[in-house]
Structures are given as structure tokens and as C-alpha cells.
Amino acid sequence: MGNENTASASIGRALALFRTMCLIREFEERCAEEKARGTVPGLVHQSTGQEAVPTGICAHLRREDYLFSNHRGHGHAIAKGADPAAMMKEIFGRQGGTCGGKGGSMHIADFSVGMLGANGILADGLTMAVGAAQAVSLKGENRLVCCFVGDGTTNRGPFFEALNWAQVFRLPVLFACEDNTYASTTRTDEVFAGPGVVARVASFGIEAASVDGNDLGAVDAAAGRLIAQIRSGGGPRFLHARTYRIRGHISSDPLNYRRAGETETHMATEPIARYQKWLIENGASETDCSAIRAEARALIERAVAESMAAPFPDTNTAWTDVQDIGGPQWNG
């Protein structure tokens, strides 16, 4: 996989990817700050340190492609083109949120950009993804379906069912495994038999790539190759991206199950500083990079300010969109 590291794309494209990563980072860090301040009501699962994975993958997705996400889904949504301000409002539970305040962080969805939902139940995105791909093939459309899955979740039964299914029906699905080492407080390798997830996937005859998920160039190149194969009718593919969850499982997690110095060690390989270094070595200027970072910070700062200023949803909306017939009976 080594030579995929040398992304040959133009510097303009590279800076755009850098910008996406910075947006995700700022978004995640500000969300957690606001959660700690008590302005965000629900749980926040940050993807800090994992920004390169959705950024490199979604760079190859089109607006009409479908994306199924999971509980740690802010980065997925931003990379797929969802509006960070609307996402932030959703997390604040305000009017103008992507789901009108009904969903929250764990259920962000923006169907207008093909982002068909974060999810509070592990692995459920996988089976929905194969179904969406089946619909695409039934309708003769030209879309691809991508589904993110955590390392820990690959031990759930639906993971195996979805892989088998996708391969049996040769469906246009990219399974993207964000292997951030942990599943809440458990190191996944302690509850994972065999040589690794790629071997499991290979047993279904599905072609897989395993990359350093903190190396944006590597993710970008591998995703580009696999997605091109899927688009040309090759059936499902699997991308295993090795990364690290720098923050806690949820933002308030004290991380007291980690080894001393573990987080710091991984900080050294976090993707944004690494990509910035690469950018500068390849023709971008320090000033370009700082400007992008500052712009991302300002954009997210604005999103937070707008969210705090936005009104809460009208309570009448609690009663809408339950179902068409047999609406929500009250308690009599």
C-alpha cells in the first residue's frame, strides 16, 4: 500500500481535503466543549483524530451516492457535504437542525446530500446499506452505497450477514471500517479472534484494502481505487482504515482504562498535522494551511453562535411525522 501514499492530486484538491479535515476537527472539539458547558443536551461521540477516514473516502463519493453512518458520525456527515451549521443546531436541539431537533448527534441525517443517517444501534447501517444497494440495482441507477462501521461492531452478526449478502448479489457497496482500536472501554483486539477483519472479509471473496487511516493520502488513494472498481460493476469492496480514537468513547469519558502515555503517543500520528506537513513539503505554504484552519474555526464558531441563538423547535413538532395513519394518541 506504501506507494498509494504519494497522492498525485493537485494541491488545490489537497487543500480542499485538508479543509474538510479541519472542519471535522473543529466541529468535534467545539461540540465536546459545549457538551461540557452544558449547552448540548445529549451524548457526543467525537471522531477527533479519525478525520482522514471519512475525508479520504467521501472525496470519491458523489452527492447522489448514499451513505450510512454510525454513532460516531459527525465526520461522515460533514465529509458527505452536510451543512455543519445545521448539524450543530441539531446537536443543540434547535430549530434549523438537520432533523428539526428530533434526532440529535446520534441521529444526524441529511437526505439532500445522500447522508441517510447516523445510528444509535451498532451494525444496523450495514444491513440497510445492502438493501439500499439492492434498490439502486433494481431501479437501474448509477449510485454507490457506502457504510461506515467501527472495529468493535464487526463482531456483530449483521456484519457477517451484510458482507455475505453484498457479495452474493454483487452489490455496489463500500464497507468502510474505521478501526480506532477501541470499542467503548474495550480494546477490540482483546475480543477479536483470528488475524484481523480483512481476513474475515476475504473469506467472503470480497476484495479489501487495509491502510493507515491517519494518512489521508493513503486513504484517498485506496478509496479511489476501490470505489472505481465498485462503479465499474465489481461488486462490494472493503476498506480497513487503522486509526485511533484520541478522545473518549463519549466526550465525558475519563479514559481511565488506557495505558499511561497511550493517548500522547497516538497524538504524534494524528492526521491533520501529518497532512499539513505533507502539504508544505509538496508546495503549499504554511500561510495557506493556517488560513484554512482559521477559516474552519470561524465557520464552526459561527455555527455554535447560530445554534445558541436559534429557538428550540415548536413543541407541536413533537407530534408530527410519526406515521400517516393512526397518529400519536395521547394518554386519554
Binding site: G104, T185, E190, N256, F312, W330
Partner: protein, 336 residues
Amino acid sequence: MERVSYAEAVRRGLAEEMRRDPLVWALGEDLSRAHGSTSSTQYCGLIDEFGPKRVVDTPISESTIMGAAVGAALAGTRPVAELRNVDFGLCAIDELVNQAAKIRYMFGGQARVPLVTRQGLGLKRSLGSQHTQSNEVWFVHTPGLVVVAPATPGDGRGLLKASIRCDDPVVFLEHKELWATEGDVDFSDDGIVPLGRARTVTSGTDLTLVVWSRMAIVAEHAATQLSALGVSAEVIDLRTLWPWDREAVFRSVRKTGRLLVAQESVLVGGFANEVAAEVSERLHNTLVAPVRRLGAPRIPMPYSPPLEDECRIECRHVVEAALSLVQNDRSRKETT
């Protein structure tokens, strides 16, 4: 007496049973490492005392957590299958409903399935549609299962111990909001609370208020407010939903003539209906007012606080319903 949290009381209850019976063991995700961080503390330290064969950190594999518990129960142990949230428990509902609940009967009584599955219930704040459900009635509807939903630390400990000793499969529902609540527990005795026995929270004469799980705390507050308004409510915490303590409820309704059942879960098809129907059918001569029920609207739980508040049953709802019930009297003659 010791003042402890609900989480601590059930933690010690489990430890006591594990000490008493070496065939009691627990399995679930993150059991040993969650030291009060991302999940609650009900298993804190147990691995140090009982080791990894009896406090088993499992892969994220809900079907197998439950299926393995069923198999292990058939093979002569007493597993405690931790599912964290009823919402995740739905990923293992098949093993519970199609296997655990039916094996004894289907196989002509050759085997028992003495497992306990612990599942977190209900609302905290803004956990959204997939982490807030209260589907206790699904389990009550399933023949073969015992369903327990204690409200206090003492009942949590005592009923967990009784559930572990029970030879039937028990669904042990812990409201997530209760884990941090405190109460006095006497750890010097074994503290067993018998399954199927209700607790009278407050005695009263004007109406009977039937509740379970966290709603028992809400109802206790409501009773205090009602008493200030001159209404004497008898609060009955069922504690066990199947089998439920019909006698305790009937006894109370015979005294008060009025029944209000309040639940956090969706009212339509809820367990309140079962209580209301039984009382209506059997005590219609005694009732001086129509039975009242309170429960959530039939809405998936929204995230935003003001929307969530639309779906919560709070103390003020219970007080209002109780007041309307005592003001809405019919004479006993009219009823009969």
C-alpha cells in the same frame, strides 16, 4: 443501614450471589473496564474478586450474549446477561423470546432456563429515539418470562438476588435514571425481596396510584403534593410486572374506590392497560370513578428537550390526573 446508590446496591447484590453460588456468572460488553466512566458502575471491581471466567467481557455480539446465557443456563449455571439498554436488548430479543421463554414448556418440562437478563430502561435527558425505550410490556406479553422493574436501591439489590435464585428466565429492568439515586440498605441481612410482591410506598384512602420503576419516585412526590391539597393517595409500586401483585392492588382499590395507573412508556398497548382492565373487570362494583391511565404518547422519543418534555410523564401530570379522578366521582350506586 448504609446509604448507597442504586448502582452500588445492585453491584453488591450481584457480588453476594456470586459469593454464595459459584455457578452464578455475568457476561456483557465492557463489564470489567467501565469504572463509572462511559457506563454505570454496577459491575465495578467484580472482576478483581471473581476473575474473568465469571465476569466475562464479551465482544459486541448481543445475539450471542443472550444465546450463550440460554445455553449456559441449560447446562447448569446461572448466567446474568447484561444488555445495557433495552434498545440494545432488542438485538437479542429472539434468543430471549423464542428460546429462553419457551424451552421449559416446549420440551415438556425437561429443563429450566435460570438466566437473568439486565437491561437499562427509559429516559434520561436527550438520549434520542434509540436509547430511551421502555418496552417492559413486550416481555410481560411473553409467556415464560418473569419481569422485574425495581425502583429503590434496596429493592434493586433484593430483587436482583431473588431473580438470580429464580429458576425461570427473568428480565431485570433498571431505569437508567435510578442508578444514581440513593437509599438506605441493610446489608447485614440477605435482603431478598420476593418476586411478585408489591410495595406500598405511601398509604392513603382517596385513590390508589399504581406504578413501577422510576415512576414510583415520581408518584411518591405526587402523593406528597396531593396530600398538601387534601388528597390522600396510596402509592403501590408493583416492583415485579410478571407476576404482578394483583392482591395488593385489589386490596388498595377496595379501600380507595379509585385507580390511577401511571407509566413512563407509551400508553397504547402498555402494562397500565392490564392493571386497569383487571381492576375494572373484577372490582367494578367497588369503583367510584372510572379508572384512569397515564402514559406517553405513541411517539418515538425526540431529542430536543422541549420535544422530549411533550412525551414525559411528570409529577404534575400525575397530580392533575389524580385530582381529576377525585373530583370526577360517581356514587357507588350508579356504578352497580
